[in-house]
Point group: none
Chain length 137, copies 4
Amino acid sequence: MTLNQTSVSLDDAQRVIAAGQAKAAEIESPSNIAVVDAGGNLVAHVRMDGAWIASIDISINKAFTARALDISTEDLAANAGPGDQFFGIHASNGGRIMSFTGGVPLRHNGQVIGAVGASGGTGEQDKAVAEAAAAAL
Amino acid sequence: MTLNQTSVSLDDAQRVIAAGQAKAAEIESPSNIAVVDAGGNLVAHVRMDGAWIASIDISINKAFTARALDISTEDLAANAGPGDQFFGIHASNGGRIMSFTGGVPLRHNGQVIGAVGASGGTGEQDKAVAEAAAAAL
Amino acid sequence: MTLNQTSVSLDDAQRVIAAGQAKAAEIESPSNIAVVDAGGNLVAHVRMDGAWIASIDISINKAFTARALDISTEDLAANAGPGDQFFGIHASNGGRIMSFTGGVPLRHNGQVIGAVGASGGTGEQDKAVAEAAAAAL
Amino acid sequence: MTLNQTSVSLDDAQRVIAAGQAKAAEIESPSNIAVVDAGGNLVAHVRMDGAWIASIDISINKAFTARALDISTEDLAANAGPGDQFFGIHASNGGRIMSFTGGVPLRHNGQVIGAVGASGGTGEQDKAVAEAAAAAL
């Protein structure tokens, strides 16, 4: 018996990103925002004017991480420090695991159907942007 | 003396991508479309529903190539076959050089200020999408 | 509406590097020194006689990091240790993020227009070389 | 019994690069020019204003290739096409083998002591720049 997988559409992704952009503008934290689908693959990305170049990769990979482990990157970070059970996980997956705040799974009827990643400011700012984005699903 | 470089904004990039999406829908070729800035760095990307996963990377790197060499990837391809002067260039830049049709420089007052890459169908389809996108700058 | 971005020229980069070399010679710390432009792309690099081979990559990527996040790598390091908000960021960007001293943004009229990275000695030595270099912009 | 290896100094590298720059300016082909030492490791690099971003990597790796195989990249190209004995060699060395014109070994008393790579124009232009550079050793 095959599996059925619900996943974000491009339309979903763009709505999510637009909500993230609005929050980023409000808190004055120019951001990169990315959405991946249920397969962990990029659906859409934007870099707001003035946002950091390094955050392109970071936003995409925060989203990847949040879907690839079905966990927010903040919760992952809490378990990935020295002495924690997942310390060292950032070395896996060819450098795609981001173990700091700003990646949030996108859930629909309790199922993870994708994820959003935000990068551009402090951990708190990125969290605010990613959560505002995710709330728009 | 510093250099002055004009570059695409996010607003430019999204207008360009929207035009590419419209063309892709018209010719029924679900595509990945990406825009990079004057520095070759990603500004925005979309994957239309049903578009190939491999085309995420290809669209981004077609755009990179078109800016990084200030040439359409179609024109590059014409000089990168066996016996041609640039044969082997695809091995450079960590696999980011795409030497087939679908990447087009974005020009403003004669200066390259970014590039767009499309991937999702045949070479002819990708070219049609990328050129429709570029025309919207 | 396009963006305007000022960036270092080769002339700027070579003046910056020469100043770094002079400081490195003075403190007897043979160094690699690199300058990237506003897009994070290499403009110029030198490896002084006797400087470490590993520092080629490190100097180039310290410069990349300082531009890609618009921060000195020393300030980044202060926020990237275990328990800090950016711990794990070194895994991003394909290994190009250097979170230790020696990368400094180059600013012109308050705007980051590139960055310089120095590698060859202790953190203090690299900092001295990078800061002397940056001061020559 | 240990080996003695003669290698280019930074001073040599910068003289070689300056000669390449002069030729590139003369033929109006803004170039990236790089020199590696006897170990194949980068000694110095410049990107002239307006030169292609993709040519950073290409110039450095043309120099690497010319030293790593002790052959000009033009001569390598002549043996690396489909059906030739070295066809496929560009897939080796992590993408660092450049099998097209513009990389030239630097010889001193018959021994290869480094190499120079130029990238920025046609194969003929890159060859002219690299050969003018090499002649200044």
